[in-house]
């Protein structure tokens, strides 16, 4: 029974990866990670860099994850010393360019976490592109305490559609 379940899961993953054709082909994801935050926190943020090697700009129109009720694109901006978090309906990875989600700028906001995320865990985030193809990302959950020692920004934790952690 267990074997069959694993077999089905494997097939499911294979189908998902296959579905990541279309526009997703041109994209490469790096530095994907999600923050481990205090258990009291029902939200967290995710960061990644999407590099588009294609000749066309790619629109990313949504994101989902099994660990959260919703995943939104947010951007922080400053107006007269006030921080403002704005939600974006879509984000664009420019042709032969990159789209960066980094602390203090754009971030993925994961709301309604199903369980507190622990450092070392891997969270799968699905990005939905405008041609309806999807891009599956493995994002490592990172503890941001003592970030200087761990080098939050230097690590390269995410790989496009890989499940070999």
């Amino acid at each position: 029974m267990r074997f069959i379940v694993i077999l089905f899961l494997t097939m499911f993953v294979a189908v998902q990866t296959a579905a990541a054709g279309g526009m997703a082909e041109a994209l490469m994801v790096s530095k994907a990670h999600v923050r481990a935050l205090p258990p009291a926190s029902e939200v967290t943020s995710g960061y990644l860099t999407i590099t588009n090697h294609g000749d066309e700009a790619v629109e990313i129109i949504g994101a989902t994850s099994l660990v959260a009720e919703a995943v939104e694109f947010h951007e922080m901006s400053m107006h007269d010393g006030m921080m403002k978090m704005g939600r974006m309906d879509k984000v664009v990875a420019p042709a032969h360019g990159s789209l960066e989600f980094a602390p203090g700028g754009k971030h993925l906001m994961l709301t309604g976490l199903k369980h507190p995320l622990r450092a070392g865990e891997t969270v799968i985030i699905e990005l939905k592109l405008s041609d309806q193809s999807t891009l599956s990302i493995d994002a490592e959950v990172r503890d941001i305490r003592h970030q200087r020692q761990q080098g939050e920004k230097e690590h390269d934790g995410g790989h496009k559609s890989s499940h070999d952690h």
Partner: protein, 204 residues
């Protein structure tokens, strides 16, 4: 045409007078609002008392110590954790004797969702030397006004849930000296080593 110009000049003088008067009123207003402030000249800061899981906590409790006070809220996953992690790293970088003279405070500007239990757990996660504070809406508003940490909440238009809102707020990490006066304002951009340097200047 001197006759025509005179009223213009008068009007200009009147405008300047009005401007000065308005400025004076605003300045006076600020001073009154900060009547609790322990230093006469400062317009930002002042004593306050808020709630924690162990009862009321007042800024006055930390006289003689440097205080790192950050205003934020737990539903803020980007900037607030960055700042608190930096404060935590800064506290870790201090030696034991120095750390004994520094207190970290995390003050929630979202008391509706951030109970004292929630802010305690949240603040402790980043460093045991950070106390989480919350309070009534009025109490938090007063402290935020004294520190000029303007905040407001706005609702997600797509959502009908009452508690589904986001906040905007000023991003300030305050360094308060042993007399209760604000001596430095930092932000989420301030690196742990710079926080350490600012704290050490106060401890000297």
């Amino acid at each position: 045409m001197p006759v025509k110009k005179l009223p213009d000049r008068s009007r200009a003088i009147l405008a300047i007078c009005l401007g000065l008067a308005t400025g004076l009123v605003i300045l006076t207003g600020c001073n009154q609002e900060n009547r609790q402030g322990s230093t006469g000249g400062d317009t930002i800061g002042g004593d306050f008392t808020l709630d924690s899981t162990s009862g009321p906590v007042a800024l006055q409790d930390f006289r003689g110590r440097a205080v790192l006070a950050y205003f934020g809220y737990t539903h803020c996953p980007d900037v607030c954790p960055t700042t608190l992690a930096n404060v935590g790293a800064a506290l870790d970088a201090l030696d034991e004797a120095e750390r004994a003279k520094v207190q970290g405070l995390f003050i929630s500007v979202d008391p509706a969702r951030d109970t004292v239990e929630v802010v305690k757990e949240y603040a402790r996660y980043f460093h045991p030397g950070i106390i989480g504070l919350s309070g009534t809406k009025e109490a938090v508003k007063t402290v935020a006004r004294d520190y000029q940490v303007y905040f407001n909440k706005f609702f997600d238009q797509d959502s009908e849930a009452d508690d589904d809102y986001k906040m905007t707020h000023a991003d300030h990490l305050f360094l308060i000296d042993g007399s209760g006066a604000v001596v430095d304002m930092m932000s989420h951009h301030t690196k742990p080593e710079d926080i350490v340097a600012a704290v050490r200047r106060q401890l000297r």
